[in-house]
Symmetry: C2
Subunit: 412 residues, 2 copies
């Protein structure tokens, strides 16, 4: 089974928008065991869209067209598909009615061109719109098929998962249920994970289901995604449960969460479960740790606040750090204890280090001293070396610090 992609929009060719839709579709298709061999960007030009569709339909079994389904005169994907099908467009009363009611419910006047979105090639099926005003289309072309979806990513994702992927799997004779789970990791490189998981990867290559993929995600860590197919939801879930556990068992110390978990949500949950509050003392990261913790809705029951002690006088004066070298674990521990007092938190997390461009106190760029003060006022500390430029070092410092705290919170 081969499904290619045509992304429509002059703004994509001009580089005003990066085409992430076809990348996303390629990822989903690969996870479902469907090849995608050609992905094309083309402008809002009917003859070029038609030529691109005819070209990919020569070799592919199916093609997904993204974009060009809006109400304006340059949204011409519908016309192009009708031309490829050798048919015409007709008004679909059900869609027209739904669009009219959507405008009415928002007390907005519907201009006539919105009914363009209710035009459907004769012989095409409709993928009902859930959020936007444009429905998707399933358009047979001989024994092949053209799917059309809006270019708005969340509308596209929803229609792909609800209608296109099941249709593709049915056409390919594959089992119809597909699902993914993600293990969130931090503390091991992608090549290191790859090496440790090689026996599992080899076995999965043999059995072919589920598939495994690594997704390096910067200061979100590295995601290990398992995607399984099966005849029904419960067998897919059971297969995933089994393999998620097998992967976890090989690299247990680097798995910090699953699926929608983030490092900060996991840390906040651990603190909340123990009735603890947190204060953050930051030098090298300048507020990014507190910024990330407070990005989570509902963090205010756990996060008291923090002190950005960028100038050394702030470390000494506000946090009560003894005067001396500041790129040190002693200083980090004093900062962690100090911020507990300052903001009235039960747990303190502190970072001091060198993001560059120049070294400091003889410590090289990338040096990060971390400390955590616990409710009994015992302070732990460690030093790590981080790679990258100033921005990368600071971002990696944030997740490293949160992970260090996470590990300590897990200790009995």
């Amino acid at each position: 089974m081969r499904c290619d992609v045509v992304a429509v929009g002059t703004e994509l060719l001009l580089g005003q928008i990066v085409d992430t839709n076809s990348s996303w579709l390629g990822e989903q298709l690969a996870a479902a065991g469907i090849d995608s061999c050609l992905q094309v960007k083309v402008g809002d030009n009917q003859s070029r869209i038609v030529a691109a569709l005819r070209q990919v339909l020569r070799d592919a079994d199916a093609v997904i067209v993204c974009g060009g389904l809006g109400p304006t005169h340059d949204d011409i994907t519908r016309e192009a598909i009708a031309e490829v099908m050798g048919t015409t467009l007709e008004l679909d009363d059900v869609i027209a009615d739904r669009i009219a009611r959507m405008f009415a419910s928002r007390n907005r006047k519907m201009s006539e061109n919105n009914l363009r979105q209710a035009m459907v090639p004769v012989g095409a099926g409709v993928i009902e719109q859930v959020r936007g005003t444009a429905p998707g289309l399933i358009c047979p072309v001989g024994d092949k098929v053209v799917y059309a979806v809006p270019g708005v990513p969340y509308e596209l994702h929803e229609m792909f998962e609800r209608a296109i992927l099941p249709d593709l799997l049915a056409r390919s004779g594959e089992p119809r249920r597909i699902a993914s789970r993600v293990l969130r990791t931090w503390g091991e490189s992608e090549s290191g994970l790859n090496e440790r998981l090689q026996p599992i990867i080899d076995e999965l290559d043999r059995v072919g289901n589920p598939t495994l993929a690594f997704l390096a995600s910067g200061w979100e860590g590295i995601k290990v995604r398992l995607t399984a197919r099966g005849a029904d939801e419960s067998s897919v879930a059971a297969l995933l449960d089994d393999w998620v556990e097998r992967v976890r068992a090989v690299v247990p110390e680097v798995v910090f969460g699953y699926d929608g978990d983030t490092m900060e949500s996991v840390v906040l949950d651990l603190l909340r479960a123990r009735g603890l509050t947190i204060g953050v003392a930051e030098s090298v990261t300048g507020g990014l740790v507190a910024g990330r913790l407070t990005a989570t809705p509902g963090s205010s029951d756990v996060v008291r606040g923090g002190v950005v002690a960028y100038a050394n006088e702030v470390k000494f004066g506000v946090l009560g750090v003894p005067r001396g070298p500041v790129i040190s674990e002693d200083t980090a521990r004093a900062m962690a204890l100090g911020v507990c007092e300052t903001v009235g938190a039960s747990v303190g997390l502190a970072l001091t280090g060198v993001a560059g461009p120049a070294e400091q106190e003889g410590a090289t760029v990338g040096t990060l001293c971390l400390a955590v003060a616990m409710p009994d006022r015992a302070a732990s500390s460690t030093t790590v070396m981080l790679p990258g430029d100033r921005q990368t070092m600071r971002e990696l410092a944030v997740i490293s610090a949160l992970n260090y705290l996470r590990q300590l919170l897990l200790c009995p």
Copy 2:
């Protein structure tokens, strides 16, 4: 003149890497007045690369192929281009020697397959490699041309600017110098800027040089980019100077900088020029303002630090804010004055507001109260309403606060 793009790499089709190269090229080509009508992603498969090249060469005058120039067996762009040219590959001794010397200078052993990168289609020109080991290629196909560049973005950018764009402009008979300038703006929507600049846009549409483009860039503001072509560097610079000033004169209050300036670098420069230091008191943004100021290398001579006063007790206890409603300009002013005392700064910047998901103290999500305390301890404040979800609101709060400070620092 039409120049299409073929991006080579199975990892692009699998969505493991988003193809930003063709977007970047599309943007550069458009700015230079060159059309790009089709952009294709294809895997590491020789017959498919050859088919894609033949397809785009039917309609385009030129094609840029990105990627597939590495040393491994799946880097087959060279072979594919030779096939399209109807020729063979031969070893280029100059390139081979340069690759060998690069390995020697790094004390690394060169494996034989690195010499694949010195293979050049007979009749092709070479774009010398400056950083990586793979040179680029200029390959005539009849009266058309195929350019090949590495997929590594900074190598691609450098070769495009140094060799490909001048060659394209020479082929098109266009003047050979091209340059861009960017006005950095904040405080007006893209449609608002568009409306106010419409007379200038109309005039530029008529004269065709320079071109103008808007680039919405989230919490970096909206960029207005002018790109000019001309016979020589000084005439291009003069043309840009003239139009940059004409644009600025229409929207003077929203232009905060040019080209490489950022809001934080502009604010830091204004503070530095007046010998001032800054402290930041943050509630709703939880440290992001201090985090962004300290992202700038060399910020430590200006930034003292800050207090993340997320819990109200921290506002009252650490910053000396009088007890009462905290979503208020009174509280913001007290926070700004308080943080000056706490961290020993001459200027204080404070933010308190509601990022959601729920309203607070009767204030709706999006409410942001800002205050600035100046060295004479006079505090100014304002309230703005910001759109978006929690993350968007917090990011827009950061640049709004820095811009408010910037405007006050510019007052006599």
